[in-house]
């Protein structure tokens, strides 16, 4: 398919463009020279298949050549990447060495002239070296990072003397309001699993009037019997994604292929709003959605109480991401906060995908104007480590209850510390809000032009999405976009999701909207 889009001239340009990255300069536009995956990716896939599963591998990337917002694959194709490793890279590739702050208007024309001449390109590099910021690369060569990389501590028992400072600078400096305590883990699943463990412990401790487990608790739990192993549950939502380990997978309700054949806890799932767009034209319908879902939550809480399988915690994403970028209104979340408060249920906001700046602030939930803050906020992805912030009343008193060998990873904290510094210094959240407005209005324009195939444009910051008619059209659209150099992701059944890095700027937006428009036309 992509073969049709190429001229022989493009191929030559591709080869040259992949040389820009080592020179420290973002390409001016994407460039696709082969099918995707190309021959090199296919060869690597066949090679790896002998020792490792490859069923979900799209293509192999050449990360050494990838730069800024651009991802280069093993075949030398250069994509504008607005998927960013499933939303897990905050600052784009090799941000330290390669992120440029040059003026787009002045420089792109210069680069365009030079684009076929590598020797001159090197001169350009020298010229622009002053504008690069090598912070993250510097971090990796810092003795503190090297020590952490080759002498990884068991953080729960023997943290390094740098660790308290790293926690403060990298994490509690951006702690959500009301959750001053933090626990690091390794990934989103372990964040969510340990968050609900903390909630269970708190719930049972409350029942005991604040006392530690009794002898009978300790003895019976070894046989998985009451009272030590309680019949408790966590309430999650249909369409939710909270991870894939067995506890987290029970709470996940996005796609059957994640869950089928795997045993699950008997925990309930509530309805999550499904709004009609544009919001301002569907106020009554959407308000009814909120009311229906909140009523469902209250029913399930009562039902479980009656069945003596109390709901100890409610976990919810601000935007159901993997499940299809379904938004909830501030009113809906205000209702959840009030219901959980009234029923003594721990209110956990899972910001594994929404956290870290893509919505225009560190935490999507902070715009909800809740009557009181959430009890716990989970994070991972853009935060490089997993973990959760939590309120003081949830602190676990006894040692070794929330514990494992590594409990996080200091090298990630050291990088995160610098990333937070860069986000603040360069006003990247402000940029996300600004560029996000442009992205949303641009998407609405395309939706107007192709209203028969494109639906439900929605977003917060650059964290945007729209729907196509069905999964077949959606998958086809992703293929068309990538053949034109735009690396974008699907979500849910019909959704297309935008997860650019925080350094996604106006020039990237322009290219994005252009390719989206052309791809929609071709669909």
């Amino acid at each position: 398919m992509s073969r049709l889009l190429r001229s022989s001239n493009t191929v030559a340009k591709c080869c040259v463009r992949t040389l820009w990255a080592p020179a420290g300069i973002e390409p001016v536009s994407p460039c696709v020279c082969t099918d995707v995956p190309g021959p090199v990716s296919k060869k690597l896939k066949a090679e790896m298949d002998a020792v490792h599963q490859t069923s979900s591998v799209k293509f192999f990337a050449d990360y050494k050549k990838s730069i800024g917002n651009y991802l280069v694959d093993a075949d030398g194709n250069t994509f504008l990447d607005i998927y960013m490793q499933i939303s897990s890279l905050a600052l784009g590739w090799l941000i330290g060495l390669l992120y440029l702050t040059y003026d787009y208007l002045l420089v792109t024309s210069l680069i365009s002239i030079l684009i076929d001449n590598i020797k001159v390109c090197l001169i350009v590099r020298t010229h622009f070296a002053g504008y690069n910021h090598p912070d993250l690369i510097k971090v990796v060569s810092d003795p503190r990072f090297i020590t952490a990389a080759v002498s990884r501590p068991a953080l729960g028992s023997f943290p390094g003397n740098d660790f308290p400072g790293e926690v403060s600078k990298a994490l509690t400096s951006v702690a959500p309001k009301g959750c001053p305590l933090v626990q690091t883990m390794l990934c989103g699943s372990s964040a969510d699993e340990n968050a609900i463990k903390t909630a269970f412990i708190w719930y049972q401790t409350q029942k005991r009037g604040g006392k530690p487990p009794t002898e009978q608790d300790l003895e019976s739990c070894m046989r998985h019997e009451l009272p030590g192993t309680p019949h408790l549950s966590v309430l999650s939502f249909k369409g939710a994604f909270h991870g894939r380990t067995l506890g987290a997978l029970t709470m996940t309700r996005s796609k059957a292929i994640h869950k089928v054949d795997i045993p699950a806890f008997d925990w309930p799932a509530a309805e999550f709003p499904r709004y009609k767009y544009p919001l301002e034209k569907n106020i009554q319908y959407n308000t009814e959605q909120d009311a229906m879902c909140l009523a469902n939550v209250e029913e399930l809480i009562a039902e479980r109480k009656k069945a003596k399988c109390d709901i100890a915690a409610l976990i919810v994403e601000p935007i159901q991401s993997e499940g299809g970028d379904h938004h909830g209104s501030p009113q809906f979340f205000q209702g959840l906060r009030d219901i959980t408060k009234k029923n003594g249920i721990v209110f956990i906001v899972d910001e594994v995908q929404t956290g870290g700046g893509g919505t225009g602030s560190y935490w999507a939930h902070e715009s909800w104007n809740l009557s009181s803050p959430p009890d716990m906020v989970c994070f991972s992805k853009k935060f490089m480590v997993g973990g959760y912030f939590y309120a003081e009343h949830l602190r676990v008193k006894e040692a070794y209850r929330i514990y494992n060998t590594w409990m996080g990873e200091p090298t990630k904290l050291i990088l995160l510390e610098k990333a937070v510094e860069v986000i603040e210094r360069d006003n990247l959240l402000e940029q996300v809000r600004r560029v996000g407005k442009g992205l949303q209005s641009g998407l609405r324009n395309i939706e107007s032009a192709y209203s028969s195939k494109m639906h439900n444009v929605r977003g917060l910051g650059t964290y945007c999405a729209f729907d196509l008619d069905d999964s077949e059209h959606r998958d086809k659209f992703v293929d068309i976009a990538i053949s034109k150099g735009l690396h974008i992701g699907g979500c849910g059944v019909t959704g297309i999701r935008f997860r650019p890095a925080l350094i996604f700027g106006e020039k990237h937006l322009e290219i994005t909207l252009d390719i989206l428009s052309k791809s929609m036309k071709q669909l």
Copy 2:
């Protein structure tokens, strides 16, 4: 307590000794100058407590000053470390920069003369620079490592073009026999959780005659109902440790404090042998233990079949480590292999703690002489990433079933690749076997001298243990040993476990036995 053991002279030496590490030289002996935790650790603990749990923190370490087999804490105390971050460091601290291969006899006397003179110490450093091997430090400054550190891929979908080679060199080069495929994860819990998911998927796929899930499976699993959400279980053993996420925690049966207040799956636990030592004097008793435990396994399998809650997988540690260093005999494991084979149950060997060389080979199970290899072997800790090796018949055909955002961590693979190279080049497994023999016979000598308080010396390689009378004596012994400069860990209720790095040599053994003997006397 430790105050009694010190002279004012020792304090001065301590301060000097902590300067040896940056100079690239292992100290000749441990040195403790304060209580443990000392004032600096206590201050850091109080500071961190405001934002992060500290209940299990023993002390804060100064990893920049730690070197080889020696761990330096935040107060400048220098411990010979035979616990190595709960057995998670293969090669000791800062192996690249600091590991020395000098001849012990020649050099220690020289160092002893120089020990109080820092200026001369620096000369020594220059002198011995040629003997250091800076491999791992070089790895961290390699562009491949830097790229992996600052541009972390979603390995399941967009692996880097280096990834297949890294998997081969770091992992499949040491794959256990019969398990040529590997899946990387982030930690031991996620390794075990995904191993049992793979087993469940295989078990259900067999039932369907090899076919993918039906429409009815896919639809019913979203409601946690049959047939999509099956009633299956995993058989683990009393005393086992398999991690702390809810699925893994169900299989864990070592300590109540890990399990209490947390809901669990209704999965069975079988008896694991509890041998009498010395083995050669208790052959009949121990053989009966094996027979009793194997019979118990067969009973539980039949029971569960009857209850229509089939056991899909059996998971077992070669040595129940966290649970108390309980060994099983080759005959016991041969029995397990045959029973699982006969019943179509996936046989998973959890080598998260035993794997990586401490027992004298990469995999403890390879000495069992099984009728056929295990179906899966889980790893983490010394392997730096988590994951599992598995047999070809367990390959999951459909994409996105064993999947998550990161699926491992390339920087760890790059370091592991070098570690494996060093283990081979320096014959470290041979060294573990040799030094392990000395450790075991040394421990038996101490046991003979203190037979009223020290019991059940056992081990494989340097992976050794012994028991004390009760947990109170055990905890006291750990405190005495650390006050004398030996950092050692407990396990189970009464166990002391040895988990030195692979570079633990004869000179470290001599100091270890000396401190153990003195500590036992003091107990």
